[in-house]
């Protein structure tokens, strides 16, 4: 029943191909919509806001996901042939960051049409999108040589459930780590939205947490998806999410918590610089990868902690 077409697992249904990855994404979207409906009721969004957000979010998310991939993926060296072939959807090629940013833009548009405060809609969307991420990451299991790390060396990790066996070596299943993170973030954000009074705070927390965790996971990934040489473009976009949140929070608190706001802004280039140095060390040195990633976690935790402090009313 199941067969592998090229690099993706799927099944034939009445002559049409149904891809396992697409099915996982669809299930993620259904989960996302279900949670969005629930949170929309909690936050008393206007009737029609949620379905309109769903439609516009899906369309914008799909289009931006495809466009960003075609613009930024280095698979063919030049973006032009990919852009020219962007309509050939079944050829594959989608960007998670593009999908999420597009969904947020769609939500903003829906809020504007509905004369709803966009920040309230984005607050409801943020935890819901984590379910889309969960579905998509679990779907990566069905893509060959995808969602995996550099080769694992050593005795411990290759024999755990976190490792996948390739033709020659073992690799860390980063898609599992990202899926688990999405679940945790969803729970954290749902708890936060129930407590928050100021619109936009939950969305800013999502940018901080998702961005910071994605910087780490994208560093672990080594599957040539949207990479130019050793640079992961999705890692850069993840860092931009953290930076955007810190800038908004710093601006908000510039008068009342000036020192902390300045610290937040200084932390952006500091985190970027330290991150680049750590990436260099991971790629070029023999320093323990466990140690380097532990430092990486601390480097990203610091701006998140400052952002959370700035967020407090």
């Amino acid at each position: 029943m199941f067969q592998v077409w090229e690099d993706a697992v799927g099944v034939s249904l009445a002559g049409a191909k149904v891809y396992a990855y697409g099915l996982a994404v669809a299930l993620g979207c259904l989960g996302c919509m279900a949670l969005l409906i629930s949170l929309g009721r909690l936050k008393k969004l206007k009737p029609g806001t949620v379905p309109l957000t769903g439609v516009l979010g899906l369309v914008c998310g799909f289009v931006l996901s495809r466009l960003l991939f075609c613009l930024l993926d280095g698979a063919l060296g030049s973006p032009l042939p990919l852009l020219a072939a962007s309509w050939r959807l079944s050829a594959g090629g989608y960007s998670m960051m593009g999908a999420l940013i597009g969904a947020c833009l769609g939500a903003w548009a829906a809020a504007t049409i509905q004369k709803e405060e966009p920040a309230r809609v984005l607050d409801c969307l943020a935890p819901s999108l984590m379910l889309l991420v969960l579905g998509a990451r679990l779907g990566e299991r069905y893509i060959e040589d995808f969602g995996i790390s550099r080769v694992l060396v050593g005795d411990f990790l290759p024999h755990t459930f976190l490792a996948v066996q390739g033709a020659y070596d073992s690799y860390l299943a980063t898609y599992l780590l990202e899926a688990a993170t999405a679940v945790v973030l969803c729970l954290v954000l749902v708890l936060d939205i129930k407590k928050q009074r100021r619109a936009g705070n939950t969305f800013l927390l999502a940018l901080l947490l998702f961005g910071a965790t994605q910087v780490i996971w994208e560093s672990l990934r080594f599957d040539q998806h949207m990479r130019i040489s050793f640079v992961s473009l999705q890692q850069i976009m993840a860092m931009m999410l953290v930076a955007a949140a810190l800038i908004v929070l710093a601006r908000r608190r510039w008068q009342t918590r000036h020192a902390l706001a300045v610290t937040a802004l200084v932390m952006i280039p500091a985190a970027v610089g330290l991150g680049v140095a750590l990436e260099f060390a991971i790629d070029r040195t023999t320093v323990s990868r466990y140690l380097l990633y532990a430092i990486f976690v601390l480097v990203m935790a610091a701006p998140v902690a400052v952002g959370c402090k700035l967020r407090k009313e």
Binding site: E6, D7, A8, G10, A16, Y19, Y21, G22, L23, V25, A26, C29, M33, K46, P47, G48, T49, P51, L52, G54, V55, V59, F69, A75, L76, G77, S78, P81, L82, A85, R88, L89, S90, A91, G92, G93, Y94, S95, Q114, A136, I143, E144, D145, F146, R150, V151, V153, G166, A167, Y168, F222, D223, Q224, H225, S229, D283, R284, T285, T286, R289
Partner: protein, 342 residues
């Protein structure tokens, strides 16, 4: 918004979601789509180069190369031109510094000159089919693996890293592996190494597109291309030492670990690693060229250096690595063609 509109929007939402499994195939470009798009891109060479077809698994030939002296009366076997591993080497053929059987001779040597440690593998084979390449995954994929892992699985007696073709950002390269075309684009900035059906090297230098294509045409007209690489710089060509340009790329004048592959005669080769970033200070491109020339190479080519420079003998890494083990998309290796006794 009225109820009807809400309902219609909800239905539309569900329909869009239900369409996703039919449309969203993969977050990455699928292999077949990548092949098609690469072929459609501009600058593809207009001529077709025939891929070598897999031959019968074992055939007997009577020729033996100069410089190699198999056991008298022993047949010369060949391996198929595909990605099947080489024959399992005879454990009795291994010594501390090499391997010998009726089809292959490998000698390892270490030299220290002017603060640089050179690891050298001299190889003589009886059939050009014993000069092989292996990839970590599909030809258009992005799979990577350790050089030592690929060498072991392919029964390599000696192996080294190649040009890590899947990592090339520009993709304007000319790449063949075991007779299979990966890309056949010209490149005005990088030199190319082509290995033909007789195991002979053909070096094509970086130059204007038309003249480079003419050279590639000339090689393709007379030979079958089995393996081709785009990296460089070329170090020795046609018996002449090349003065490497300081603008070539890959830190040409810096002292780095380096890897190079040379041909010294018919079915006679040398794999060389210059260690660096440690006890050994590394080499510049010109020093590498000078060294390959001094070894008697008639053609020699620089491959990926730095942390990628890896020489593996009998499954073990021979050189001190310039960092943690770096994965590669492909390797070059030599295998025995003598089938293991049951």
């Amino acid at each position: 918004m009225n109820r009807l509109t809400c309902t219609l929007l909800s239905v539309l939402c569900v329909l869009l979601i239900l369409a996703l499994p039919f449309v969203v195939s993969s977050p990455n470009l699928l292999g077949e789509a990548k092949w098609e798009l690469l072929d459609e891109m501009e600058d593809t060479a207009g001529w077709l180069v025939t891929s070598a077809k897999a031959e019968e698994e074992l055939t007997l030939t009577e020729e033996a190369p100069e410089g190699f002296e198999p056991t008298e009366g022993a047949p010369v076997y060949e391996l198929p031109i595909d990605f099947t591993p080489g024959c399992v080497p005879d454990p009795a053929g291994f010594s501390e510094d090499g391997y010998v059987d009726d089809s292959i001779s490998v000698k390892l040597e270490t030299r220290e000159e002017n603060g640089v440690i050179w690891r050298i593998a001299w190889v003589v084979i009886s059939s050009p089919t014993q000069l092989r390449t292996a990839t970590a995954g599909k030809l258009t994929g992005s799979a990577t693996a350790l050089v030592s892992s690929m060498a072991e699985k392919n029964n390599a007696i000696v192996a080294m890293n190649a040009d890590y073709y899947s990592n090339d950002p520009a993709k304007t390269t000319f790449e063949y592996r075991m007779g299979q075309k990966i890309r056949n684009k010209t490149n005005q900035k990088k030199d190319m190494l082509l290995i033909d059906e007789a195991g002979d090297f053909h070096i094509v230098l970086a130059q204007q597109r038309d003249s480079q294509q003419a050279e590639l045409d000339a090689v393709a007209a007379e030979h079958e291309i089995i393996n081709a690489f785009t990296f460089g710089p070329a170090l020795v060509k046609g018996g002449e030492l090349i003065q490497v340009s300081k603008d070539y790329g890959y830190n040409p004048t810096g002292r780095e670990p380096r890897s190079a592959f040379g041909q010294t005669g018919y079915l006679s080769y040398v794999m060389v690693i210059a260690e660096g970033r440690g006890e050994s200070k590394g080499a510049t491109h010109q020093e590498l060229a000078d060294f390959m020339y001094s070894l008697g190479c008639r053609d020699a080519f620089n491959f990926d250096g730095g942390g990628s420079a890896t020489l593996v003998f009998n499954g073990e890494v021979v050189n001190a690595l310039g960092g943690s083990p770096r994965v590669q998309s492909d390797i070059i290796y030599f295998a025995t063609a003598v089938p293991a006794e049951d």
